[in-house]
């Protein structure tokens, strides 16, 4: 475990931040390189955000345009909440990587390209008529093109690797160069390489050699202008223990924590689907926490088994993405009717239908809030970032058991895959919410559908002596839970189900993320748009604009004060990575003229896009 010494920094209005993008063939190990660079950045005490962007194919053919894998990191000396709009530095390991990424590079930005890969075949695959590093077509940027492949081969010669194996060290060479550029310590990465290749010390040494060579190259090479070292000061973050975390990890951890705080065993029923699978993978390793994971035959069986487990006294959890959640709709209705606790995690991806499995989107909000037959109210909460996802998962578990209801937790492909530094929480600071199962009949006999003050029904699990009873999906009779088709009873039960869920809003206060109550513009967001919105609002406020940022975690029911809050603003802007779904809920609930700002390209918002929308709304 490394330690960072940092001096109290003075607050810095125009933060120094740098955006670097590593891009190469999916075989070039760019995600790995990015991951390690992220770690060293964290260790350097910078705040950071990342955006991994890999191809849909498992292993796309080498050198092709659709086979390009990229990893972007934004780091700086003040709060960083997005992976950054345009890169300052682009490292392109082959022509295809250059072709697909250079367009995003800031004018005047730096391109580092491995000329070793810019040969006929690769240029053709990248559909380049002429060689861009030679034909001057890159003149609006700074170009640093040299034969990284050759230099790498040179550096690992002593280890007598085969050509293919030797070239695999390219990414470490490049990482070494990057570490030099940003004045980073190689130590932790050397350690990591040693442990990674523990079984094959030759490979370990070769990679370390390449890493050092890249670093040395930066120091020694007499290069003209572009390549210079720059030091990004550490960001002012509170003291404590830190780690990096992806959304998939933090949700898994949060669910485990939630079950533990409820002092329940967890049953997780899942079926693989991108980008949700990672949660199943993480949880399947944590059996010592009373976690049982079950890979079902399909999404319907996944949720059905989770409902069965909840009925039997575990905390049932299921997870999927859009198409799979669609299949769960009927069973969610059963959980609503039988009033059993259940957490449903939706890692949203581009839709409709199979859509864009590896791209991010927020277009399942309608499905979450409205997407069932019958009047079927369902609490919905949404995570804003990998770190936030931990608390959201706990919150979902709490609501599920405290109200005996299924709960939908929304995250998305961006949150699931992106890594960010996370101040490791002190678990002692979380109030437990232990479940008490009913073990005695109420006086007046057994009433499985009796209500407490929160309108919650008792949780009675099979195995309890004397409380045998039957439940099911047909309308229930008040208190007894017997089948009942009577008009008044259905009316009453419908309202109980509705009011129970609405009751969750009691005591839920929506706070303002930036700005004051009331004013010209409130930018209202939810989920993973948090980063770009907060940056855009920060910039607008820095310019002196009267703008506030409100970010909603509780999508349904909405916090009780939200309506009042919104009425205090002249204009309400709702940026969403969909065609305007939260907007519908806000307009319906509060009759506020919420204006949508929509992006559905499978890419997160750029800060500038939201900034512009604010500007034009002010104009």
């Amino acid at each position: 475990m490394a330690t960072v010494l940092q001096s109290r920094p003075e607050i810095d209005v125009a933060p120094e931040a740098v955006v670097v993008r590593f891009a190469g063939d999916s075989g070039d190990g760019m995600q790995l390189t990015g991951g390690q660079f992220t770690l060293s950045t964290a260790l350097a005490g910078n705040d950071l955000a990342t955006f991994p962007d890999f191809p849909a194919e498992i292993r796309a053919p080498q050198g092709t345009l659709f086979g390009v894998s990229a990893f972007q990191i934004n780091f700086g000396s003040s709060a960083i909440t997005t992976a950054g709009d345009a890169p300052d530095v682009l490292i392109a390991m082959n022509p295809a990587a250059l072709k697909t990424n250079v367009g995003d590079l800031k004018p005047g930005g730096l391109i580092i390209a491995d000329t070793g890969e810019f040969n006929e075949r690769n240029l053709a695959k990248a559909k380049y008529a002429t060689n861009p590093v030679e034909d001057g077509s890159l003149s609006k940027w700074q170009l640093l093109a040299f034969d990284i492949s050759a230099l790498t081969l040179e550096s690992v010669k002593p280890f007598g690797l085969g050509n293919k194996e030797a070239l695999r060290c390219k990414n470490m060479w490049t990482l070494g160069l990057a570490l030099w550029m940003f004045d980073r310590d190689r130590g932790p990465i050397v350690e990591w390489l040693k442990s990674k290749f523990a079984k094959n010390t030759i490979l370990a040494d070769a990679n370390i050699a390449a890493l050092n060579a890249g670093h040395a190259f930066g120091e020694t090479a007499e290069l003209s202008g572009p390549l210079k070292q720059l030091h990004v000061a550490p960001a002012p973050v509170p003291d404590g223990l830190y780690r990096t975390v992806t959304g998939a990890e933090s949700i898994s951890l949060g669910l485990v924590a939630g079950a533990q705080l409820a002092s329940l065993p967890m049953f997780f029923g899942g079926y693989p689907i991108t980008p949700a699978s990672a949660i199943l993978h993480h949880l399947s390793k944590l059996k010592e926490f009373g976690v049982t994971t079950f890979q079902a035959e399909d999404e319907i069986a996944a949720i059905a088994s989770a409902i069965g487990a909840s009925y039997a006294g575990s905390l049932g959890i299921t997870s999927s993405s859009g198409p799979g959640i669609a299949l769960k709709g009927e069973a969610i209705g059963l959980a609503i009717m039988t009033e059993l606790p259940l957490v449903i995690v939706n890692s949203q991806r581009g839709g409709p239908s199979t859509g864009l499995p590896t791209k991010t989107e927020q277009s399942d909000l309608y499905q979450a809030v409205y997407g069932r037959n019958g009047d079927a109210p369902l609490p919905v909460i949404a995570a804003r970032s990998p770190a936030d996802a931990f608390d959201c998962a706990i919150e979902a578990c709490r609501i599920a058991v405290e109200y005996m209801t299924p709960v939908m937790l929304l995250t998305d492909g961006y949150i699931a895959n992106a890594a960010e530094p996370w101040k490791v929480p002190d678990m002692a600071s979380y109030a437990p919410f232990p479940v008490t199962f009913q073990e005695e009949a109420q006086e007046g006999g057994l009433k499985p559908y009796a209500r407490d003050a929160k309108l919650k029904r008792p949780w009675i699990k099979p195995g309890t002596p004397g409380l045998m009873h039957r439940i099911g999906g047909i309308e229930k009779e008040l208190d007894t839970g017997h089948i009942n088709y009577a008009p008044e009873n259905h009316q009453a039960m419908t309202h109980i189900r509705q009011n129970k869920v609405l009751g969750i809003a009691k005591g839920l206060r929506q706070d303002i993320d930036q700005g004051n109550e009331g004013g010209k513009i409130a930018v209202v967001g939810w989920g993973s748009t948090y980063g770009p919105i907060s940056q855009a609002v920060r910039r607008a406020r820095a310019k002196g604009h009267d703008v506030a940022h409100i970010h909603i975690r509780h999508i349904w029911p909405l916090p009780e004060n939200l309506g009042e809050l919104l009425k205090g603003f002249e204009k309400v802007l709702v940026p969403e990575m969909n065609t305007g779904q939260l907007k519908t809920v806000l307009r319906d609930q509060y009759l506020v003229d919420a204006r949508p700002l929509n992006k559905v390209s499978g890419q997160p918002f750029r800060i500038a896009e939201i900034e512009d929308a604010i500007e034009s709304l002010l104009a």
């Binding site: 069986a301 088994s305 575990s314 002692a428 099911g472």
Partner: protein, 345 residues
């Protein structure tokens, strides 16, 4: 049957009856099956508090409301999936799945296959009336070719599914057959209960409203001798009061019916039933009724470790020696400490 079935509990039929009015059509075969189950439960020493009946949707799936135990009337076709969650969450429970030919083989076919493949410890009672009763009489996957129904006014053209054959093909380790009014039904249910793992029981049931007497050819008294082949482990496959038997045509390698002359079945080469012979089980479930009698009783019974046993064993093994330290868990991975005081020691 659960882990602790050694602990038998004293109950009577009455203890297994609920206060709910039974709402099947007068004369429905479901009544007889309900009685048979309520008769069986005390005999096997089942414990109401540890007994759970899980059903899908259909007339048959109303069953749990009438048994004084825990019960879950789920959604159409999903009972096996719900039951899997119940059993994995609490292996101490005796799980009975009640389903129909539509529930288990039409919408629910996939879950039926997978619960059998995984071999979850439970009893699956499939009430086969060869029709959709609850929705008022449409043909089902087990309806015979040419069945006229509201959705097939000119007769169905599908080739019917064979529940027991489907179960075997799905990997079932226990396959049995009985029918609603059969006095042997409780014995079949007992055998199913005593089988550790997924026990599949096809119960022919008379839907007197929409598919009356389709099984009369073998269920009715007068047809019993010629129509019913009751299988017993270690006993020759005899029927028609022992005057006929089932043998294997050693040339064609298919089953055939042989006459048994004054009880000398050995001479006739009648097969001795071995409940662990999967090859013969396949032949028995495919015997075309008419040319052959209906094979009833325990067709196949060859246990394998059950799914929940495997899961629990693995959970324990993987947890062994580990402590569930939440703080440690969240602190895993590459970490670093930020400190304005200076590096910690």
């Amino acid at each position: 049957m659960n882990e602790m079935t050694t602990i038998k509990v004293q109950t009577t039929i009455k203890d297994w009856e609920t206060d709910q009015e039974v709402r099947w059509c007068p004369g429905c075969g479901d009544y007889a099956i309900l009685k048979a189950v309520q008769r069986t439960l005390p005999e096997i020493g089942a414990d109401p508090k540890n007994t759970v009946f899980v059903s899908g949707i259909g007339c048959s799936s109303r069953f749990p409301y009438y048994v004084e135990s825990y019960g879950f009337h789920t959604i159409h076709g999903r009972a096996p999936a719900v039951a899997t969650g119940v059993k994995l969450a609490n292996p101490e429970l005796d799980v009975w799945i009640i389903t129909g030919d539509g529930d288990a083989l039409s919408i629910g076919g996939n879950h039926t296959m997978h619960i059998l493949r995984r071999n979850l410890d439970c009893q699956i009672l499939l009430f086969n009336n060869e029709i959709y009763g609850l929705t008022k009489g449409q043909y089902s996957p087990t309806s015979r070719e040419g069945t006229k129904s509201p959705s097939t006014p000119f007769g169905s053209v599908d080739r019917p599914a064979k529940p027991a054959a489907f179960a075997l093909g799905s990997g079932a380790r226990f396959v049995a057959r009985g029918f609603d009014v059969s006095k042997n039904l409780p014995d079949v249910l007992k055998a199913a209960y005593n089988h550790k793992g997924a026990a599949f029981v096809e119960i022919f049931q008379n839907c007197i409203v929409y598919n009356k007497d389709v099984f009369a050819d073998f269920t009715e008294k007068k047809n019993a001798d010629e129509g019913q082949l009751w299988l017993e482990n270690g006993k020759p496959m005899l029927f028609a009061k022992g005057t006929k038997g089932i043998t294997l045509d050693r040339e064609a390698l298919t089953l055939k019916v042989v006459e048994v002359v004054d009880g000398n079945w050995q001479a006739a080469g009648v097969i001795v039933h071995d409940v662990t012979n999967r090859s013969v089980a396949h032949m028995l479930v495919e015997m075309p009724f008419g040319a052959f009698p209906m094979a009833l009783g325990i067709l196949y019974d060859d246990p394998r470790p059950s799914f929940e046993q495997g899961v629990i064993a693995q959970n324990e093994k993987a947890s062994a020696g580990k402590v569930a330290d939440l703080q440690k868990l969240v602190s895993q991975g590459e970490t670093w400490t930020v400190s304005h005081a200076g590096p910690e020691l």
